[in-house]
C-alpha cells in the first residue's frame, strides 16, 4: 500500500460503512413491496360513496382482502369474535336460513322471489353461481335501484361456521378467489354507493 492509498483507506472504509447502513430501510421496503406485488395478485375491496347533496360528500375506502382476513380475527368486540359474527336470527321466526340456502344452492338458476308492489319491486335470483338481489324503490322522486351480487361460494363460506354465526374471514377468503365483481350498487336521488372487488389498489372511477 502506497503512502497515498494509505490516506484514502479511512475515507473508503467510512463510505463503505455508510453505504452498508444508510440505505437499508428504504431499499428493504421497496424490494419487499415489489416482491409482494409481483408474487401474488392482490385483491382489493373498494367502497365508494358519492353524495350529490350541497356538501358533495365522498367516501373512498380501499382494503386489501388479505389484510382484512388477517386483521379481523384480532378484533374481539361485541358480537365479533375470531373473525366470526354471532347473529341471533339464523332461525328467524321458524325459517332456517341454512336450509333455505342449501335448497337454493342445489337448485338450478332461476328467480326465486319476486315481489311487485306500488312502492317497490324486489327480486331474488340465482344466476351463474351468484345470488342476485334487485330492489327498485319507486317511492322516491327519483327511482332508487339497489343491486346486490354475492357469489354462492361466498355465501357458503359465510355459513360454514357453527350455528348462529357468520364466518366473515371464510367469506373474505372465498371472495378473494373470485374475479373482479361488483358486489353492491345503490343509486338514488342523493347517493351513489358501490362496493366492488378488483386487483387495483386505487379507486379508478
Amino acid at each position: 500500500m502506497t503512502h497515498r492509498t494509505r490516506h484514502l483507506f479511512p475515507v473508503l472504509a467510512c463510505l463503505a460503512a455508510a453505504f452498508l447502513f444508510a440505505p437499508l430501510g428504504p431499499r428493504a421496503q421497496t424490494s419487499s413491496a415489489q416482491s409482494s406485488t409481483s408474487a401474488r395478485a392482490e385483491r382489493w375491496l373498494h367502497v365508494r360513496v358519492i353524495s350529490t347533496n350541497s356538501k358533495g360528500e365522498t367516501v373512498r375506502v380501499n382494503v386489501p382482502l388479505e389484510l382484512a382476513e388477517k386483521v379481523l380475527p384480532a378484533i374481539d368486540h361485541d358480537r365479533l369474535h375470531n373473525g366470526k359474527v354471532r347473529i341471533g336470527c339464523m332461525d328467524c321466526d321458524g325459517v332456517d336460513v341454512r336450509t333455505i340456502f342449501e335448497a337454493v344452492r342445489s337448485s338450478r338458476d332461476g328467480e326465486f322471489v319476486t315481489v311487485q308492489s306500488k312502492d317497490e319491486d324486489v327480486s331474488v335470483m340465482k344466476k351463474e353461481g351468484q345470488l342476485l338481489v334487485h330492489v327498485h324503490d319507486k317511492k322516491r322522486s327519483k327511482d332508487a335501484q339497489i343491486e346486490v351480487k354475492v357469489p354462492m361460494k361466498v355465501v357458503e363460506a359465510l355459513l360454514s361456521g357453527s350455528k348462529d354465526e357468520l364466518d366473515i374471514v371464510a367469506g373474505l377468503h372465498a371472495l378473494a378467489g373470485q374475479g373482479d365483481v361488483e358486489l353492491v350498487s345503490v343509486k338514488d336521488e342523493d347517493n351513489t354507493i358501490r362496493v366492488w372487488l378488483d386487483s387495483k389498489n386505487v379507486t379508478t372511477d
Binding site: 479511512p10 475515507v11 467510512c14 460503512a17 455508510a18 447502513f21 444508510a22 437499508l24 430501510g25 428504504p26 421496503q29 421497496t30 419487499s32 413491496a33 409482494s36 392482490e42 356538501k55 358533495g56 360528500e57 365522498t58 367516501v59 373512498r60 375506502v61 380501499n62 382494503v63 386489501p64 388479505e66 389484510l67 388477517k70 386483521v71 380475527p73 384480532a74 378484533i75 374481539d76 389498489n201 386505487v202 379507486t203
Partner: protein, 145 residues
Amino acid sequence: MVLLAKIALGFGATVVLAGAYTFREGLIRVDVDETRGQGQHVHVWAPAAIVPMAMHFVPRAQMLRAGEHSAKFMPLVHAVAKELQKYPEAELVEVHDGEQYVRIRTHHGNLLIDANEPGQTVHVSCPLSTIDDVSRELAALAPAS
C-alpha cells in the same frame, strides 16, 4: 495538520453513521396547525428508531400500566401495522365532507394521516415498522386474559 484532518474525518464519519443509523427507519412527524382562536402550532419530528429504544428506558411499572390500558386494542393495532407493511403504497381511506377532508394512506412504508377542517390541519406520518414494534411490545405487556 494531517492529524487534525484524520480527527475531523473520524468525527464526520461517526456523525454520518450515527445519523444514518438513527434515521434508517424514517421519521415520526406530527404537524398540527390551528388557524382559529389562539392558533396553536405543534410540530414534532423525531427519528423513528429512537422510539423502540426509548421504551427500554421507561420504568417497568409504567410500561405494564400502558400495556394494561392498551390491552384491548393493541393486538389489533399490531395486526394492522404488520399487515400494512405489505402495502407500502396504498390509498386506504379518503373522505370529503364539505370543507372537511380526511385521508389515510401508506407511502414509502409510512402510515400517513391527513385531516383538514376549517381552522385546523393535522398531518401525521409514522413508519409502519415503528407502529409494529411498539404495538408488539405493548401487546406483550398486556395481562393474560
